[in-house]
């Protein structure tokens, strides 16, 4: 009832002015009128790459010779908020530098003689090339760490100089660039890290910009006596496991820093991508943080636990209690096991580690491999399933002397599909089939003599095809990335280049990671 009476009153109030006698002046003078047409209903452009070009048709009812009589404003609007003026000339040429999002863009033309303004609007959608593709961390031409990306948002195209234009100071010693796979648009969950030996920082996921304030120390809550300022992440787990960007655990995460500490997170309990005290310690010597080797072993498809390697006592330790565990645990060795977790008796040390989608022994979510070495320069491969509180040892392989130059190998890559380990010695690519009783060794001179800077099997985009990515470098064509398929004939090892999967002019690639979205 009340509503109706208010409406009635309002309506009446509207009629009242009609009772006034109109004493207005009707001697009108026509003014210049402006019509704006030729604007499309919407425009789209790519952040950091495109120049947004809009050329509207502007019609005037008067012939204006003085160009300063009209002012033009291209006004960017989000919702009801005016954000920015992108241009002040009749034709817009704007190098896109606004965060990827959808906007309204209004052209407002003011006739300065009369002060009257005319307006036309269009929708503007700013996309990003950074959404999907292969992120490459390496060394740029000036010797600093640099990031390129083979963007696969629409057409495949290379975006260069991402790190040097990120707003961060020059960084040295490239390590990796990695997205944590979190699809949340909340910046407290999803993070994308540029990791280098001289500092690791997280970047804005849409613009790839950053500042030195975006460092690990700001996202940890610890009471261990560590300097938050200097903690530099080198490794993130779990990795992305499929093309869509999913990872092996929704909540559990771990980050390893260059000083050999492992910080855990359980994003449900910590309400975001935040980390607590390191877990590279054991209960009976809690105050001592053990220096770890730079590997975290876990099944790629499901990271319920991580195994890490104690470089002080030469043993594997397990952390299987994300969310509440404060320390790691020793694992039992039983006589007759294929290999020991504790290397004290065997006298071996860790050389290299890698997680794969190898399923030998029923390891549905993927076996991990460790390359071990003893005091007599013998090499061994440990295969295990780092699955939860009771990990399973799958097998051990002795690397036979037929594996050419293995002692001098500096890069390794385990196939997920076959019993084959690729490695490089200098600039030569080798493969070793470790299948017991059928061991074979291969060399691949067809790669040429360019420096090999990275070999990596794909377990991130599509582990079923498990392509081998090989990065090389020479001073004239710069960094080059190629994708190869590993032959399936078990009697031999061949690699076949994949057509149109060959990019050059890149950074000198140190590592690459897949990014799916966000």
């Amino acid at each position: 009832m009340k509503k109706i009476s208010i409406l009635t009153l309002t309506a009446l109030a509207g009629f009242l002015p009609a009772c006034y006698k109109d004493k207005g002046n009707y001697d009108y003078t026509p003014i210049n009128e402006i019509t704006i047409s030729g604007l499309a209903k919407s425009y789209s452009a790519i952040y950091g790459k495109d120049i947004l070009h809009i050329e509207p048709a502007i019609k005037l009812t008067e012939n204006i010779t003085d160009p300063s009589r009209l002012s033009y404003y291209w006004i960017l609007v989000k919702g009801t908020t005016r954000l920015d003026t992108l241009g002040t000339s009749p034709v817009l040429d704007y190098p896109v530098d606004i965060a990827p999002d959808t906007y309204v863009l209004n052209l407002r033309i003011v006739d300065n003689a009369t002060g009257v303004a005319w307006k036309a609007g269009t929708n503007l959608s700013i996309g990003t090339l950074y959404g999907t593709g292969l992120m490459l961390m390496g060394t740029g031409e000036n010797g600093n760490a640099e990031v390129d990306m083979i963007s696969m948002v629409s057409d495949t195209q290379v975006v260069r100089h991402i790190l040097s234009t990120s707003g961060l100071p020059a960084l040295q010693g490239p390590v990796t660039i990695v997205h944590n796979g979190d699809k949340s648009t909340n910046d407290n969950y999803g993070r994308l890290w540029a990791m280098t030996q001289s500092g690791s920082y997280f970047l804005d996921r849409k613009t790839m910009k950053s500042t030195t304030a975006k460092k690990f120390g700001t996202i940890i809550a610890i009471n261990d006596n560590l300097d938050k300022e200097t903690l530099t992440p080198m490794l993130y787990a779990p990795q992305i496991r499929d093309r869509a960007g999913n990872t092996g655990n929704t909540y559990a995460r771990a980050m390893m820093t260059s000083d050999g500490n492992i910080f855990p997170s359980h994003t449900f309990l910590t309400a975001g991508d935040f980390y607590t005290n390191p877990i590279n310690r054991v209960e009976n010597n809690f105050d001592h943080l053990i220096k770890t080797a730079p590997y975290l072993f876990y099944p790629i498809a499901n990271m319920g636990a991580v195994i890490w390697y104690d470089t002080e006592k030469q043993r594997f330790l397990n952390y299987a209690s994300f969310g509440f565990g404060l320390f790691s645990t020793l694992m039992n060795d039983i006589a007759g096991d294929p290999f020991p977790w504790d290397q004290a008796g065997a006298g071996r040390t860790l050389v290299y580690g890698e997680n794969t989608r190898n399923t030998d022994g029923g390891s549905t979510n993927g076996n991990s491999f460790a390359i071990m070495k003893d005091g007599s320069n013998n090499y061994f491969l440990y295969k295990f399933y780092a699955n939860g509180a009771t990990p399973l040892k799958r097998d051990m392989y002795t690397v036979l002397p037929i594996a050419a130059g293995f002692a001098n190998a500096d890069k390794f890559a385990f196939s997920s599909r076959r019993s084959v380990l690729f490695y490089t010695v200098g600039n030569t690519l080798h493969a070793y089939d470790y299948n017991k009783g059928f061991e074979k060794s291969y060399t691949f001179p067809e790669l040429g003599s360019d420096e090999i800077t990275m070999i990596k099997f794909d377990t991130q985009i599509d582990y079923t095809t498990n392509a081998l990515y090989i990065a090389t470098y020479n001073p004239s064509t710069k960094g080059r990335l190629r994708r190869y398929m590993l032959g399936t004939d078990p009697n031999t090892v061949t690699i076949t280049p994949v057509e149109r999967a060959d990019w050059d002019g890149l950074v000198k690639i140190k590592d690459m990671n897949w990014r799916a979205l966000n």
Binding site: A221, I222, N223, H266, T270, A271, G272, T276, N277, F324
Partner: protein, 262 residues
């Protein structure tokens, strides 16, 4: 239009309310709370300003008003808990509000007791007492602001203390039978001080979720539990004042308020 007709008087114009509400919507209060616990430890004294408003027209000259310490409602001692502050203050020219500046001091006895300083406005040649019976607008903000509906606006009490009360963010509770529960159990000053020392925190850090983040709560819960267990195992259990074992995190014991552990 008719002007103001009535007494030219003074009354205490102290308002307080929650931060989400505009200060002009806060109700008038017959008291001011000075809680030293919310200040950093190095703050040993503070000057507070008690507002006094007038009724009647503004004048283009300063007018004095008189205030005395009301012995009936005062437990604080001059020179100990507050500095003597005189009895005559000014309503400035062309103003409706004047202030009584009072310096209050933090003393050890405030850890356990609240000290009261009662103020009383006294009529003088310029001002009478405007609202000996202040009545708030009935119902206004009662539910959200906690009105003090009726009081004598010529009296004002300053509560000065250093009592530690449970802060805004406290992840613990007390269950049936006075059993401590949740991540942190019951709030005690002793537990709070232990937390602050173990994690390099301040009482103020517990004031909101902006400073007491979920990850920090997670850290405190885990590490407090570990610390208390370690102390127990080392034969130096951490006890509350009533002799019960301090409770936090994943300690294996159950603590009841008022029940010593042995």
């Amino acid at each position: 239009m008719m002007g103001y007709e009535g007494m030219e008087g003074v009354y205490f114009g102290v308002r307080s309310g929650p931060s989400y509400a505009a200060p002009v919507s806060w109700p008038y209060r017959p008291y001011t709370d000075v809680e030293f616990v919310k200040q950093p430890q190095e703050i040993q004294e503070m000057e507070i300003r008690i507002a006094v408003n007038i009724t009647g027209p503004m004048k283009d000259y300063d007018r004095p008003f008189k205030v005395i310490v009301n012995p009936d409602s005062t437990t604080a001692e001059a020179g100990v808990h507050y500095l003597p502050f005189g009895d005559s203050f000014i309503i400035p020219a062309n103003s409706i509000t004047g202030y009584i500046p009072i310096t209050v001091k933090r003393t050890p006895d405030m850890l356990t007791t609240n000290k009261k300083l009662g103020l009383k406005l006294v009529p003088n040649e310029y001002f009478g007492l405007a609202f000996p019976e202040w009545k708030a607008i009935p119902g206004l903000g009662e539910s959200s602001l906690g009105n003090d509906t009726a009081f004598d606006a010529s009296l004002h009490t300053i509560n000065i203390n250093d009592l530690m009360v449970q802060p805004a963010v406290w992840r613990g509770s007390i269950q049936a039978g006075n059993r401590e529960a949740g991540s942190w159990g019951a709030f005690t000053r002793k537990k709070m001080e232990l937390m602050c020392s173990l994690f390099n925190l301040k009482y103020e850090d517990f004031a909101s979720e902006t400073t007491m983040t979920a990850v920090l709560v997670s850290l405190i819960t885990a590490e407090m539990g570990r610390y208390l267990i370690n102390q127990f195992n080392a034969g130096t259990p951490v006890l509350e004042d009533d002799g019960r074992l301090m409770f936090a995190g994943s300690v294996p014991w159950t603590s009841y308020i008022g029940v010593p552990y042995k």
